[in-house]
Structures are given as structure tokens and as C-alpha cells.
């Protein structure tokens, strides 16, 4: 009640009629459009697959299958916001997987040593490519196309054309491990539910705080009912998913890794000066440079970061397959880039959100999964995915022209 009252008071000077849910939604179609699309797609496949999609075991698989795409989509978002592209990530996934396999299987090194070495290696790969893009102004498309070829070749060379595996058991936990239940060995897994509730609570708390802040400024245009409905739904969805997972084996380790990364990078892009500068760089590089921003170093860093996340994705992917294959990561870059654009990023840079990229990746993932369950062939899957990417971008452009 208190909040509803303030919202009316503060909106008096700018919007005499007060915010209505309909008007608000029309203005924020771009923000919620893709989230709504994800929900619709999930419901669609839930019905089409007779409930298989949301079965705990399938849901667990869904997260395991898409974790590496989501992790790379976060890094790719930064690269694309900065006005560049990275085509090499798929090959880097393969290369790092191969490197890890050679070190662990052939040289018997400990996973505790291999993982950090691989992450640093990914960082260096990203940095090496970023160096040419940032300081030599070579178009990122070309540099990373070269990287794509080089690292695919190196993957083949490292593995000598063979698959290498299996990995030591400890390493597999990176991908296929689950958070153990602290309370009992029975199902459902209490820890999973508890973490789900905690995450949902944290999200609601943060949303309420940010709403209170914007109310204080009088810039809030979100109707109270909408705020409650939105956060209620999000919280309920998280708790429900956590519950579903708890009835199987609990929360996968990768889900935790992913959640932490999403939280960290959302904060980085929304609240930090570095994030702000990356958006400025992508929006207008010359103006950013003339405002005293070290645009070269920022570009360099976004690529280094991308390399590191690609390495992490490579490790997770290898752990999941329990073997490193020369084909690993093939064409991943396309899924990752598609996810970022489905999530609303702009090709010209300066626009895009971490959460958008994650939603984009989930849309792709759910479609992959759902169509596979339905037994749709890989041929038609590709066609449908391509059309969805096109439709998402058209939707974006249409919204933009309507706003003007």
C-alpha cells in the first residue's frame, strides 16, 4: 500500500494518468518479449512432448547440455557489446578440451593443476587475439576467423586425430557432479530446494531494493501489480525448478557455476565503471576515446575474458563427454552468437544484456532438446533454429522502428 501510494505521487509531474500495465508492457516489449517467448516455447514443448520436457531428469540434462553455451554467451555478450565478434570460441573449446585430456590422461597430471592451467591458457588465447584487434585495429571477424582455423588445427594436432579419454573421476564432477545434500540421503534433495529458495529470495530482495531506489528518484514507471506479478513468477519458477531437480539428483555443479557467473557479470555490466565503459565503447568508440577511456585496453580485456570463459566451457564440455574429441566444440560459436542476438544485443555494439544472452541461450537449448525428444531430424532442427534467430532479430528491429 505504502509503495503504491508513492508511485502515484512521484508520477504526477511526468505522467498525469499514472502508469498502466498495458502502456508499460508496450514500452518494454523488447525487455520482456524474449522471456515471454522462452516461456511459450517451454509450454509448447511441454505439451508436445507429453510432459517429458519438464521431467526432472530431462531438466537436469537441459542444464548440463547448455551450460557451456550459456557460459560462452556471457563472454560473447561483452565482445558484441564492445562492437566485435569472436568466431574462435568453438575451436577454443575443442583445443582446451584436448589440452586437458593430454595433460590428465597422457601425462597423468592432477585435475587441480590442469583446470587452472587451462583457464590461464584460454585467457592467453583470448588476449593474443584481442591484442591484434585492439592495438592493431584488425577487424575481429578476421582475427578470430584465423583463430578458429588455428585452434581447430591445433586440436587435431594435439589429439593426433584420436579421441583421448576417459578423464579421472574428480574432473568429471566439474560437469556431471551434483551438490551433495547436507541434510539427508533421501529424495527430495533438501539442499537443492533450500538453495532455490535462497536464490529466489535474493532476486526478490534485490528487485525490491532497486524499485525502492527508483521510486525515490521518481523514475519508476513499473506498475506495482506488474512488479509483484513479475517477481512472484520468477521466484516461483526458480523454486519450482529447484524442486524438480531435487527430486532427481539435486543441483548440478554447473548450474551453480553458471548462476555465479550470471550474477557476477550482471553486476559488472550494470553497476561497474568497466561495464559502463564497455557500453560506451560499443556505442561510439571515438567519443569514448575522446572522453579519456582507454578503448584499446577495454577491447583487449573483453577478448581475454572471452578466451577464459571459452576455456571453462571447453573443460565442462570435455568433462561431460568424458573424452576429448577432435570434433569437440564444432560450430559452437554459431549457437553462442545466435543466443546473444536472440537475447537482444545489437550487431553494431553498445546494446545488450547478460540476462538477455542467457535467455537467448535457453531458447536455443529448449528448442534443441524439445525437438530431439520429438524425434525431429537434425536437418529440420537447423531450419527451425535459423528461422527463430531471424524472427527474434526482426522482432527487435520492428520494435525499434516502432519506438522512433
Amino acid at each position: 500500500m505504502q509503495q503504491a501510494k508513492t508511485s502515484i505521487e512521484t508520477s504526477v509531474d511526468e505522467q498525469p494518468t499514472g502508469p498502466s500495465i498495458k502502456a508499460y508492457l508496450a514500452g518494454h516489449l523488447r525487455d520482456y518479449g524474449m522471456l515471454a517467448a522462452l516461456v511459450v516455447i517451454m509450454l509448447l514443448f511441454q505439451v508436445l512432448t507429453d510432459g517429458t520436457l519438464m521431467r526432472p531428469v530431462n531438466l537436469t540434462n537441459l542444464f548440463l547440455q547448455n551450460s557451456y553455451i550459456i557460459i560462452m554467451a556471457i563472454g560473447m555478450l561483452l565482445v558484441i557489446v564492445a562492437g566485435h565478434i569472436d568466431l574462435s570460441v568453438g575451436s577454443v573449446v575443442g583445443f582446451i578440451g584436448a589440452l586437458a585430456a593430454v595433460m590428465m590422461v597422457n601425462w597423468h597430471m592432477s585435475p587441480w593443476l590442469v583446470v587452472p592451467i587451462c583457464l590461464v591458457c584460454g585467457l592467453l588465447i583470448g588476449a593474443a587475439q584481442g591484442y591484434w584487434v585492439a592495438y592493431w585495429k584488425i577487424p575481429s571477424f578476421i582475427v578470430t576467423l584465423a583463430g578458429m582455423l588455428v585452434f581447430r588445427g591445433l586440436t587435431l594436432a594435439l589429439l593426433e586425430g584420436q579421441s583421448v579419454g576417459p578423464f579421472p573421476g574428480g574432473f568429471q564432477l566439474l560437469s556431471t557432479g551434483f551438490v551433495p545434500d547436507l541434510f539427508s540421503d533421501e529424495r527430495p534433495n533438501i539442499t537443492a530446494i533450500l538453495l532455490g529458495v535462497l536464490a529466489a529470495g535474493a532476486i526478490v530482495l534485490l528487485a525490491a531494493r532497486s524499485r525502492a531506489r527508483s521510486l525515490k528518484f521518481g523514475i519508476n514507471d513499473e506498475p506495482f501489480a506488474f512488479f509483484v506479478a513479475k517477481n512472484g513468477l520468477v521466484a516461483a519458477a526458480i523454486i519450482y525448478i529447484a524442486y524438480l531437480l531435487s527430486t532427481y539428483r539435486g543441483l548440478p555443479n554447473v548450474l551453480i557455476t553458471m548462476a555465479v557467473l550470471i550474477a557476477v557479470y550482471t553486476f559488472l555490466t550494470n553497476r561497474s565503471t568497466i561495464g559502463r565503459r564497455i557500453y560506451a565503447l560499443g556505442g561510439n568508440e571515438k567519443a569514448a576515446k575522446l572522453s579519456g577511456i582507454n578503448t584499446e585496453r577495454l577491447t583487449f580485456l573483453t577478448f581475454a575474458n572471452m578466451g577464459m570463459l571459452a576455456a571453462l566451457a571447453g573443460l565442462i564440455f570435455a568433462a561431460r563427454l568424458n573424452t576429448a574429441t577432435p570434433k569437440a566444440g564444432f560450430a559452437f560459436e554459431l549457437d553462442v552468437i545466435a543466443a546473444v542476438f536472440i537475447g537482444g544485443a545489437s550487431m553494431s555494439g553498445g546494446v545488450g544484456k547478460v540476462i538477455g544472452a542467457v535467455v537467448g541461450a535457453l531458447i536455443m537449448g529448449v528448442m534443441n532438446n524439445g525437438m530431439s525428444i520429438l524425434g525431429i531430424g537434425i536437418d529440420w532442427q537447423q531450419v527451425i533454429k535459423g528461422l527463430v534467430l531471424l524472427a527474434a532479430v526482426i522482432f527487435d528491429v520492428y520494435n525499434k522502428t516502432k519506438q522512433r
Binding site: Y279, S291, G292
Partner: protein
């Protein structure tokens, strides 16, 4: 002879929530130069878009009669077919194509898709002669300066049997001598019976060539003045434009000049691409606290290059020379160092170099000094909002909210956002490059007032401008620049346009 070629009656055009034009009328007589004046956002461009068919028939109310026939244009092609040709402020030429290719672009002299090059070149040659441009038709557009490009645009219009030529701010980017040439050309066309509509902020040009003037204010036509029936002064036009008397175009300031702030000596800069070309020759420049120093000079005289090379070496290479701030030698080799040392540079091209157009006013305001609104790299929203509101108020940026994207603002308000950004960086010395280019009279006055306030606060201001009256009205001291070096220096009270031009010519 003086019959009406164009009559627009009762034109009303609404955009969602805004009435851009409200019952506007415009009457152009055959063979006259009709000036269209008004502040930015008054509706001049919208009116011209209605006329040229960019806003198609049916999307507005009112009537257009051209040569006594009612017109219903569905697009720009229809209006061009009737001989109404508009030349926009931003030129629409393809830089990597030749003059001839540009002139006949979309309208090629061809038979069954095969271009007749000899005919194209000879026709282009004739057209270029008519506009007085002595360049070969095969010259690439990118090799031409803005003034010559403008002439190519006009030649292109002539190639289409133009009856009514519309020029939107044709001289905004031109030097005085190029502008004069262009205006002479308009007068020549008039003698040939071509009518034209001239949209311009430069009132001295308007009063020089116009036969009649229509003033638009807030989307309505305020008055139409006939220059042959009555003597029109610039003050009359300004009064109609802003709706009030502007007794002084430049606000008064009593200079209180303090100690020397910025001293540049022996400044040399070479061209970034061709190493043997020296762009800036041995320049020495001084600015004191509370002083407004002007740099006058023609386009291409190296003013912007000088400013950018000083500001973090953003232009040129092999830069040599020393810079002192309050007597202490400083290193300005990167933009960050320059900003940290208290130098700010407001660029000439605010859209390309000054603003992130798709970002909000708030984010643009704090961009050069994010440290001021953050702690340990985390931005404090409350503090940032407070800063943005403070500058919005201080500079009178007209906007519903600081969360408005700057792309939606008028030129004058955009310029104020750029100024906000640099004022918040807390500089000692501000270098303003063409600070009032393309903005209307009212906003200009506000910018001048801000400059005066800065000087009163003891900051040093360097003002680069192509508009000499502005330099004469604002500056305590004026450097005259020519071909990369200072040709001379004049105290504000003794300077005049004639003296400045004489210095440039005799250099």
C-alpha cells in the same frame, strides 16, 4: 513574372503525441529565393519533408499546389519528377564514386542497362561548368572538400531539370568564401528562373540573397516578410524566430583576467598518414584564467588539428613542443592524462565524436568522470543521478528526464549535454571547437552565457569558430590561424572581420 510556383496551405502534421506542424502556410513565387527561418525544432525540416514527399500524401492535413496543380506525392520520386529537389544538410554522396557517377546515380545515362560513359562525362562537364566547379568528372568525391561536394549536389539537382531547389543549411559547414560563392550561384539560378527555398541559421546570408522570408516558430508560420517592400533587419528576423527581442546576441561580460593558465610553445605536428606533411608549425598559445581566447581561420587551416593534437595527441604524429599549466610542464600524451591535468576538449562534431547517441543524458554526462560517481569501480546510482540533474538544471537542458536518449534531443540540447560532460570533468582549460555549429539563436545565446560563466569562474576558454561575428562578440583575444601556424594575434576590442581576413590573406 511574379506568379506563385508553390503554395502550401494549412499544413498540419502530427506525430504521436506531438503536433510538429500546425496550420503552416508557405507561398513561393516563381523565380525568387525564399528563405525559411526558425529555431531548431521549429518545424522547418518537417515542412520540407512534407513538401518533398518523405511524409507521403495522406499522412498530413493541408494542401500543396505546385505550378497551380494540386500535388499528392507518395514519395520523394514523385516530387523529383515535378522538379522539386531537396539538398539535405548531410550530403548524400558516395565518397568512393566519381563526381560523374554520383551525379547520375540512380538516373544513369544508359541504354538497356549499359552506361554511356562518354555522354555521362560530357554532361557532367557541362553541369560542373554551370555550378562553377573546375574538377574533372572522374575525380572521386572523397578528394573534394565540403564546399565542392555541395556544388556537386547542386549539379546533381540541375541534372534533373530542377524547378524548385530546396537547400537545407547549405552553408553550415562552409567557410565564408565558399558560402559567398554558393550564394552567388543561387542568385545566378534565380536569373535563370529557378526558384529556391533556402533554410539557414545564418541571417546575414538570408538578408543578402532572399527575396522573401518565412519565419516558422513552434510549428506555425509566424510571418512572411517581403524583402523588397520593406527593409528587413536581422533583428526583425530574430525577433520573429524567438518571439522576443534579442537586444544583445552576445551576453556581456567584464573580463577579469588572472594568471597564465595554459602555455603551449613550439608546437609541431605532422600528418598521421603522410609523414612528410607538417600540419602544425611552431605554434605558441597562451590562455590566462578568466580569459576567452579565440582561434579564427579558414577551414583546413589546422585549428581542429591543433586542438586534437594538444588533447591527448588524438591527432597527428611526431608531435613536439611543450605544454605548461600554471607554469609547470605537463604531459598530455593521452586523453586521460589531459583530462586529469584539467583540459577538456569539446569536439567540433558532437554526433560523431562527442556523444554516445543511443545512451541517456545521464550516462553521457558522467562518461568523462566516472570516478566521480563511483567507488572502487562500482557506480553509485544515487550520486550519478544527482550529478546529471544538477547539470541538466544548470545548463537548462530541455528534456522530460535525464533518462532520455540524447539522440532524441535537438542540436542545442545535445551540445549542452557535451558541455555537461566536460564541465563535470572539472577542467581548468576548455577548448571549444565550433561550440555553436548548427544550433539555433536561442540556444547559442545560452551557450555563450555558459562560456562567460566559465570565464567568470576563472577557467581559461579557447574558442575555435568559423563564425567571425561570434569570435568578435565573445573573445578577449583572437589568434588568427592560417595553414598550420598563427598569422597574428588581435585583442578583442581592436579586432574586426576585415583585420582578421587581412591577416589570413597576407600571411
Amino acid at each position: 513574372m511574379h506568379d506563385t510556383i508553390l503554395e502550401m496551405r494549412g499544413i498540419t502534421k502530427t506525430f504521436p503525441g506531438v503536433k510538429a506542424l500546425d496550420n503552416v502556410s508557405l507561398k513561393v513565387r516563381r523565380g525568387e529565393i525564399h528563405a525559411l527561418c526558425g529555431e531548431n525544432g521549429a518545424g522547418k525540416s518537417t515542412l520540407m519533408k512534407v513538401l518533398s514527399g518523405v511524409y507521403h500524401h495522406g499522412s498530413y492535413d493541408g494542401e500543396i499546389r505546385f505550378e497551380d496543380r494540386p500535388m499528392a506525392f507518395g514519395g520523394i520520386v514523385d516530387s523529383e519528377r515535378e522538379g522539386i529537389i531537396i539538398i539535405h544538410q548531410e550530403l548524400a554522396l558516395v565518397p568512393l564514386l566519381s563526381i560523374a557517377e554520383n551525379i547520375f546515380l540512380g538516373n544513369e545515362l544508359a541504354e538497356r542497362g549499359v552506361v554511356d560513359w562518354p555522354a555521362t562525362y560530357s554532361r557532367t562537364g557541362e553541369l560542373l561548368k554551370r555550378v562553377g566547379l573546375s574538377e574533372h568528372p572522374s575525380t572521386l568525391i572523397e578528394k573534394l572538400g565540403v564546399g565542392k561536394q555541395q556544388l556537386v549536389e547542386i549539379a546533381k539537382a540541375l541534372s534533373k531539370e530542377v524547378k524548385l531547389l530546396i537547400l537545407d543549411e547549405p552553408t553550415a559547414a562552409l567557410q565564408e568564401n565558399d558560402s559567398a560563392k554558393l550564394l552567388d550561384l543561387l542568385l545566378e539560378f534565380k536569373a535563370q528562373g529557378i526558384s529556391s527555398i533556402l533554410i539557414s541559421h545564418k541571417l546575414n546570408e538570408v538578408s543578402r540573397v532572399a527575396d522573401s522570408i518565412t519565419v516558422i516558430r513552434d510549428g506555425t508560420s509566424v510571418s512572411t516578410l517581403d524583402c523588397h517592400k520593406q527593409a528587413i533587419s536581422e533583428a526583425d528576423i530574430i525577433r520573429d524566430m524567438v518571439g522576443r527581442d534579442m537586444a544583445h546576441r552576445y551576453p556581456k561580460r567584464t573580463p577579469a583576467i588572472g594568471e597564465a593558465l595554459l602555455e603551449v610553445s613550439g608546437w609541431n605536428v605532422w600528418h598521421p598518414e603522410s609523414a612528410e606533411r607538417q600540419v602544425i608549425h611552431d605554434i605558441g598559445l597562451k590562455v590566462a584564467a578568466g580569459e576567452v581566447v579565440g582561434i579564427a581561420g579558414l577551414m583546413g587551416s589546422g585549428r581542429t588539428e591543433l586542438a586534437m593534437s594538444l588533447f591527448g595527441r588524438s591527432y597527428g604524429r611526431n608531435i613536439s613542443g611543450t605544454v605548461r599549466l600554471r607554469g609547470r610542464e605537463v604531459d598530455l600524451s593521452t586523453v586521460k592524462k589531459a583530462v586529469d591535468n584539467g583540459i577538456a576538449y569539446v569536439t567540433e562534431d558532437r554526433k560523431e565524436l562527442g556523444l554516445i547517441l543511443d545512451e541517456t543524458i545521464l550516462r553521457n554526462t558522467t562518461l568523462a568522470n566516472l570516478g566521480g560517481v563511483s567507488e572502487h569501480g562500482v557506480i553509485d546510482d544515487t550520486q550519478e543521478r544527482r550529478v546529471a540533474e544538477e547539470y541538466r538544471e544548470a545548463l537548462n537542458i530541455r528534456t522530460p528526464s535525464v533518462f532520455q536518449k540524447v539522440v532524441n534531443l535537438s542540436g542545442g540540447n545535445q551540445q549542452k549535454v557535451v558541455l555537461s560532460k566536460w564541465l563535470y570533468a572539472q577542467p581548468e582549460v576548455l577548448i571549444l571547437d565550433e561550440p555553436t555549429r548548427g544550433i539555433d539563436v536561442g540556444a547559442k545565446f545560452e551557450i555563450y552565457s555558459i562560456i562567460n560563466q566559465l570565464a567568470d569562474q576563472g577557467k581559461g576558454v579557447v574558442m575555435i569558430s568559423s563564425e567571425m561575428p561570434e569570435l568578435l562578440g565573445m573573445c578577449d583575444r583572437i589568434y588568427v590561424m592560417n595553414e598550420g601556424s598563427f598569422a597574428g594575434e588581435l585583442a578583442g576590442h581592436e579586432a574586426s572581420q576585415e583585420k582578421i581576413m587581412a591577416m589570413i590573406v597576407n600571411a
